[in-house]
Symmetry: C2
């Protein structure tokens, strides 16, 4: 990606016509691509899956579950947070608990899927 790095608020809800409706503008394509990139990693897919299935987990639960360092989990969570796919951590006792945001995932799909929604 040797192009200028764009500054985009990926936390804001995605909002553009579906990919299949018409040739997508450069800006919209960038929005979509950034969110997809946030999910385009095996570890992050597993993190989201764990959070969706279990509801609420902390870093120390997630790290052993996906087999990486807690530092790495922390990094991935921050990527997912920046894309609005995961909630801000909520401190409770000595741990910080995270949640997935199913709506964000659904919104992304609605933009991508040519048939469904």
């Amino acid at each position: 990606m040797p192009k200028a790095l764009p500054v985009i608020d990926t936390t804001a809800p995605i909002c553009c016509a579906p990919v299949a409706a018409a040739p997508m503008s450069e800006a919209d394509a960038l929005e979509v691509a950034l969110r997809l990139k946030a999910l385009a990693d095996p570890v992050r897919v597993r993190l989201i899956s764990l959070l969706l299935a279990e509801g609420e987990l902390c870093t120390c639960d997630l790290a052993p579950a996906v087999g990486v360092t807690e530092a790495t989990v922390s990094h991935h969570l921050s990527v997912l947070k920046k894309s609005g796919l995961v909630s801000d951590g909520e401190r409770r006792g000595m741990n910080v608990y995270y949640r997935a945001w199913p709506e964000a995932l659904g919104a992304l799909c609605r933009v991508i899927d040519p048939s469904c929604c």
Copy 2:
């Protein structure tokens, strides 16, 4: 990604339980991530969008439309083909025409979306 590069046939139709159903296995997560990665680029999003909207286009149409070299378009198309999102090129006259594969996009969404389909 300093891990071993996995060999996976991403052309085969994706086939695993939705992300939200249960904690996803490492292998399934990899499958999903690889396909997402294929789409997680602004140029490739626009290419898919163009192909979906216009139906059928050749490299020499696509290159100026997205603003990159034809060599680059060719590279992106091969990535999309490897992920089953775009059909093999079909030679006709002096051009090679490509098509998007909406079903592949839909299938990916069905795995990802926790609510919709």
